[in-house]
Amino acid sequence: MKTINVKINGENYTREINEDMRLLDFIRDELKLYGTKEGCGEGECGACTVIMDGVTVNSCMVMAFQANNKEILTIEGMEDEKGLHPIQQAFLDEGAVQCGFCIPGMVLSAKALLDKNPKPSRKEIKEGISGNLCRCTGYNKIVDSIEKASQYLEGEDQ
């Protein structure tokens, strides 16, 4: 067993983990945060995307021990006391959601993108979510909603 300290969604966790545990399993099985999904187990679909130290990673491709002393944001950390994050609101407003299985990862990719590039072009948005596979939506409404989220966030800043 190995002890790790991880800050997830603003909260510090100190846990004993198995050495062979993936970050994804830590988040789901240990912390019971089931919003992070597993779609392929090999970093290809992005359903397990979380933000670690400011950048997106596939949590199925990170060993849990590697997250020691790191700060992680999962979908459960997107809402705050005011309610939905503007990106989540935009996904709702623009009709970006269908089956929803890709959506937590998609929202986090959108957040990482907008944090780095607050006014991305549609091409840049597509690049930003190119590691998140979706089989239902054909992506276009997701791109629309990230554009919309960019506007919402700009409005918030003013």
Binding site: K2, E19, D20, R22, G41, E42, G43, E44, G46, T49, V55, T56, V57, N58, C60, M61, V62, M63, F65, Q66, N68, N69, S109, A112, L113, E127, G128, S130, G131, N132, L133
Partner: protein, 306 residues
Amino acid sequence: MDIKNVFQAKDVPEAINLLDQYGEAAKVIAGGTDIIIALRENHVKVSVLVDISSIKELKEIKTSDDWVEMGAAVTFTEVMDYFKGHKEYSGLIEAASLVGSPQIRNAATIGGNICNASPAADFVPPLLALDAVLTVEGKEGKREVRLEDFLLDKGRVDLNKGELLTTIKFIRLRKGQTVTFSKLGLRKALAISRLSTAVYLEIDDDEKCAEVRVASGSIGKHGLRERVAEESLKGKNLDKAAIDEASKVLSNEVEKRLAGRSSCEFKKDAVEGIFLKAVEKAMVHNGDGSYCAMGTQYYPRAAGKE
């Protein structure tokens, strides 16, 4: 996967000590994007993982007067950010940007890409074209090895027990020099390279090809220098005939190399297109029909032909 011990090394000596101590039982993990799959599928059977992704000195890129030096644990995203705007390094930027997806580029490291020695490793061809030199450190000290010599076979590199790849360096590009990259993937993201080429090009004041290095991916056991194509271009005026000739030479070479394989027919043809694209990217055509290496300041840049 049967992992018993895991370590987050704080510095290179600690990592080397651990690798030395556990020997064959240990494996380095950095971005994890390849090794975790290999572990889960039992292609790699080790009981100890040494994580080097938090070692600060391995995460730096430095440009000195003569060299550009990158730590082995630098991620592809960091490569893209560092070279952003430096067109002479477009091959590095492009190869990095075509690795997997944003999530993978945020985690995967250039050292990992090299040490896996996959034929399809995206970052290897441009580094081969830059004739990159690697630093390997072990208990016995440091040694330098050319990337081309480092790659031994598919999945096998020149790393001895207890050794760690620490840096990758190449000679800083000057005026008239550029490196470019072109890849054939089956889709626009998350695509494993079916074929790739990288070209380093140096054009002299007479607009002749002073130096050229060509490298390929996915058409051999690992990334390879393509010397016949280089010989074909060297010293020539880079007109269409010369470039077409070189692409034919490369195509013939690929045909010989892949003879008997089902992919041969496709790759020998497609390599021409992919090579041409890399060469074209390396050259910027001027309005008067002259050209210069991309990213250099010799000539006013005209609209690049894509």
